[in-house]
């Protein structure tokens, strides 16, 4: 469904080389959906509060109003405009999600490549990764939450610590295959240093694995941080989408739907947009992957 339907007679522009990537990328309508969505969300979270600046103070007369012309998303329990709260609340999930995903993917990539190309480190890295993977990810987060509140930095660090092993394992398995490739041997025979070989031959061919890892990491990171924030391991009084869901729980016995729906939808839109972008990128970078391996 997410791929333009490919017939055997179709020819991707540019073939399997780097050129033509942009054409392949721009041809997929869903990539544009993803880009558009992400841009909208970024504008919403970062430019929004500046443009739509109202209802900052507590207005007891206007508490819990359903959506209206003046307040498109209604008001919350303290009379503040909910749309404004939603806009302000976006910075944290977006920034922390990207930060965590980038850090976890980078760390996992480094670990996986090291394990595959530096045999001395292979055993240690894999053992550590397996050890971290076998401890339920919820455990360290719960301990942190149960004992002390932390700053967003420590939370990001904790999530990265828990999530890098899965990427490392995937990169490692892929590298095992790639390092047996003839072009790697040829490069080594031509005298290239190991890091050169990795940079020029292994990385580009592992690109679709890496991008897939990033997409998963992003989704997991955003939801994980949201969960941790909801359970209290977040940050003081800072308002973000997750705390908005948490406070809306107080009102769950009455039908205050405008308090509950927007933050969740925002989360979903964020994750979906990045997912679509990554999927499109993956397919553009390696047309074979898109066709499920059936294109020559």
């Amino acid at each position: 469904m997410l791929a333009p339907r490919l017939r055997p007679t179709d020819v991707w522009p540019g073939g399997a080389t780097g050129s033509g990537t942009w054409q392949r990328l721009s041809r997929q309508p869903l990539v544009w959906v993803g880009v558009g969505l992400l841009l909208c969300l970024l504008l919403f979270a970062f430019a929004g509060p500046v443009v739509w600046h109202r209802g900052v103070g507590i207005d007891v007369a206007a508490i819990l109003q359903p959506p209206s012309a003046g307040h498109p998303l209604g008001t919350d329990g303290l009379g503040r405009d909910y749309l404004y709260a939603l806009m302000r609340g976006g910075k944290l999930p977006i920034l922390s999600g990207f930060a965590t995903a980038i850090a976890a993917t980078a760390l996992g990539l480094a670990a996986g490549l090291t394990a595959a190309f530096a045999p001395r480190w292979e055993a240690i890295i894999l053992r550590t990764a397996d050890a971290i993977l076998s401890i339920p990810p919820l455990v360290p987060i719960l301990i942190i939450e149960g004992f002390f509140g932390v700053s967003i930095v420590t939370l990001v660090a904790a999530v990265v610590r828990v999530h890098w092993p899965s990427t490392a394992r995937l990169v490692w398995t892929k590298s095992l295959v790639l390092r047996e490739m003839p072009y790697v041997d040829a490069a080594r025979a031509a005298g290239a240093r190991e890091t050169e070989v990795i940079r020029r031959h292994v990385l580009p061919n592992a690109a679709d694995t890496i991008i897939a890892c990033f997409a998963t990491q992003f989704g997991n990171a955003v939801l994980f941080i949201a969960l941790a924030t909801m359970l209290g391991a977040g940050l003081g009084a800072a308002n973000n989408w997750a705390t908005m869901i948490a406070t809306s729980q107080q009102y769950m016995y009455d039908f205050y739907w405008w308090l509950v729906l927007p933050p969740g939808i925002a989360f979903a839109l964020l994750i979906i947009s990045v997912f679509l972008l990554c999927e499109g990128l993956r397919r553009a970078l390696s047309p074979r992957a898109q066709a499920g391996g059936r294109l020559p």
Binding site: M1, L2, R5, D130, A131, S134, I135, P136, P137, L138, V139, L142, I143, E145, G146, F147, F148, G219, L223, A226, L227, M230, L231, G232, I245, S248, Q249, M252, Y253, D254, F255, W257, V260, L261, P263, G264, F267, A268, L269, L270, I271, I272, F275, G292
Partner: protein, 305 residues
């Protein structure tokens, strides 16, 4: 086979020990002084010291660690075991429903590729994958309990109590449904890939050439072929499903291990918190072990990796 199983069991035990050590260290380093906490307003250094002495927290740490483990076996885990049944129930019901839905979706997608059914369910899967599970539960509650009033407002307790069996079952439906919907997306994507692989194979082509009706092809050949990947996938999802159950229980104040965790956090019962976290860790490590052993049984490559 046996050497692999032995190795995995040893690994699991080692991980368990490491987890328990880490938990113990966290408790000692960050738990604060129990005497001070318990005496509160009435604390004086002498009284705190006396209480600590009586509580046994001034002994060398290895001694305390061993003692902690001992009391775990002697009944420290009783509260955790008491709340296991509802947790397992959520797990089984939620996972079961999710599985049924995933199979239905995957079959529909594989048998009608490229049609609106395929597109709609794919989009739906993606959406459910991206939605936070606790939010989904909240929304379902809002719609079905708060607004439509089809389902009761009160959360189900440990056993059908004041609500009676019918009320309790109805109250269980929301968390179960949330769990199912959360798992469907990932599972149906995996299943669909497995089924597509099976559909492209030669024996399916033969079956179709023989004139076998499509639904028999699906049932007799494709599903059977996809069964193994399905089992592996279910096995791998156990730990994730368990954390989902715990999360739901935590967020919605349900009875179960998550509920126990919540009480421990709310009332600052550090000992209970640690014991519960340890139990959760044990269950996860145990399920990982079982899954790995089953995977090794099914796929010989795993044993020699």
């Amino acid at each position: 086979m046996i050497p692999y199983v032995m190795r995995r069991i040893v690994q699991a035990v080692v991980t368990l020990v490491v987890v328990s050590l880490v938990l113990f260290l966290v408790m000692k380093l960050y738990g604060g002084d129990p005497g001070w906490i318990m005496l509160g307003r009435f604390a004086t250094p002498a009284k705190v010291h006396a209480l600590d002495q009586a509580l046994g927290v001034l002994r060398p740490w290895p001694v305390q660690y061993v003692d902690w483990l001992r009391q775990l076996f002697l009944g420290g885990l009783s509260s955790a075991f008491a709340v296991l049944p509802p947790t397992i129930l959520y797990f089984v019901l939620g996972g079961g429903l999710g599985l049924v839905l995933a199979v239905l979706v995957a079959v529909a997608q594989a048998s009608h590729p490229g049609t609106w059914i395929d597109h709609v369910t794919s989009v739906g899967s993606l959406v459910f994958y991206a939605l936070p599970s606790f939010w989904l539960g909240l929304v379902l509650f809002l719609i079905f309990a708060a607004q439509l009033e089809w389902l009761p407002l009160a959360p189900p307790g440990l056993a059908p109590g004041g609500q009676g069996p019918l009320g309790w079952s109805l109250a269980m439906m929301l968390p179960v449904l949330t769990l199912a919907l959360t798992s469907v997306s990932a599972w149906s994507m995996h299943l669909r890939a497995a089924m597509e692989d099976a559909l492209a194979s030669d024996y399916v082509r033969t079956a179709r050439a023989k004139g076998l009706p499509e639904r028999l092809v699906l049932r007799r050949h494709v599903l059977r072929e996809a069964l193994l990947p399905l089992l592996t996938m279910i096995g791998m999802s156990f730990p994730v499903l368990l954390s989902q159950v715990i999360v739901l229980q935590l967020v919605f104040h349900l009875a179960g291990i998550g509920g126990l965790l919540e009480s421990a956090i709310d009332y600052r019962l550090f000992g209970l918190l640690l014991n519960t976290v340890l139990v959760i860790g044990v269950i996860t490590i145990a399920t990982n072990l079982v899954v790995d052993i089953l995977a090794a049984l099914a796929d010989p490559r795993v044993r020699f990796g």
